[in-house]
Symmetry: D2
């Protein structure tokens, strides 16, 4: 499964180079991840209320082409790797109707509220496993 | 008491107008407030651990002159009004060695962790009262 | 005319109080303003390309009720005052299906790229005037 | 050369997990980079005014330990790789008096104002080369 989130570049996301600041992509990937989970039937806000957190332990972004205020961008998100204590999401960011602007991935380790590593509950693991998309 | 916090404009705080985005001042005022409390002997992080929160209920900012990446700015903070259930902080933001860039104020209502309004503890009220600075 | 923009609270917009940080509303109002202009037939990105900028000279926000990650919010924007060198936008922020979370306004002075105050072009002034909404 | 920048965690940089949001580190690395250049005698704001930009083309971050509001953190920055059309900066982020919180690197391609790739001017290249620090 690949989820698609459409976002509008906000003025506040630009910097004095006249394009979107490289840090502004990070919340976009997070939106993509939340939408992917929702498409899988999992509400991330609920997971947290039940004591399961997916903090980011690694983040990678490659920027190909600058984005500008006024553009709409699509974030395409997939679950690229899965283990009982590790999830890897992969992302593509593209302006609507255009080529790739950026690609990246984030690695997550499931934790409880106190920060201890937790195995994914079995039912959740099975669900995510069925939606894994290792290759683009 | 007026506290002085020196901050360096971060590149990420600029926008495509080539100056600091108006929203970037909001975290600066917060830094100013935290420093004012620290100068008063109150660590805001500790207050929260003890269950006392100062959420912002009103915010006002007037922008006089644009700020740019590479500038250092001073945030001057004072406690302008105080009641048992209301604090008003006032701020001036100025580039080092220059005139006023912005001025503003924030209004806070003390709350507990569940969001219920709380009176300020008496000792804290008395301390803050002794440092009140109604006029610039 | 009142425009309506629907936004989803982003995880990155929360703070350790467990709710949306008060500074995160500022880019939302900006989105509301850009959408209002678009609904009026004016693309803000184009205005800037033509050398007309609407920097914020005053900002006011009153927070009534906290917002949380996972909520959708509506920003309702109207042009509340207009003069040839001054625009005032007014905003309401409300969770979908709920009461008011925040209200505010921003004051803008039209400028050229070098920061000099400019009168609004007459055709633009007339258009905006026809859409003025002084009262809620 | 390794430069050291001390930053205070801002309240606005936390999220509802109660720790610093992973995206908030990105502007910190940028501060580290600007300070490293300054220690080398290069003011990044001046470089841009002269038409030389160092946009980020790749970004990598590994998070080891959460950071909290109230902590002071040190960003240690070094230039890890250099070619005439490519710079790689490496970073360590550590709370004062504590172990490593995060490490990362950013890759930059020198460009002119219109986004065309530029070779580094020879004098700048030689200066940077003399300060290269490939290993920690």
């Amino acid at each position: 499964m690949v989820s698609r989130s459409v976002l509008e570049v906000r003025y506040a996301e630009t910097d004095q180079m006249g394009v979107v600041h490289h840090g502004a992509y990070v919340p976009w990937l997070e939106v993509g991840r939340v939408h992917w989970l929702r498409a899988a039937g999992v509400e991330y806000a609920e997971l947290e209320r039940e004591g399961l957190f997916f903090p980011v332990v690694e983040l990678e972004l490659r920027y190909r082409r600058a984005l500008r205020f006024g553009q709409e961008v699509e974030v395409r998100t997939r679950l690229a790797e899965l283990a009982s204590r590790r999830l890897v999401f992969a992302y593509e960011v593209a302006p609507l109707g255009g080529g790739l602007a950026a690609a990246g991935q984030s690695v997550h380790v499931p934790q409880d509220a106190s920060g201890r590593v937790r195995r994914l509950p079995e039912a959740l693991y099975d669900l995510l496993q069925s939606l894994l998309e290792p290759h683009t």
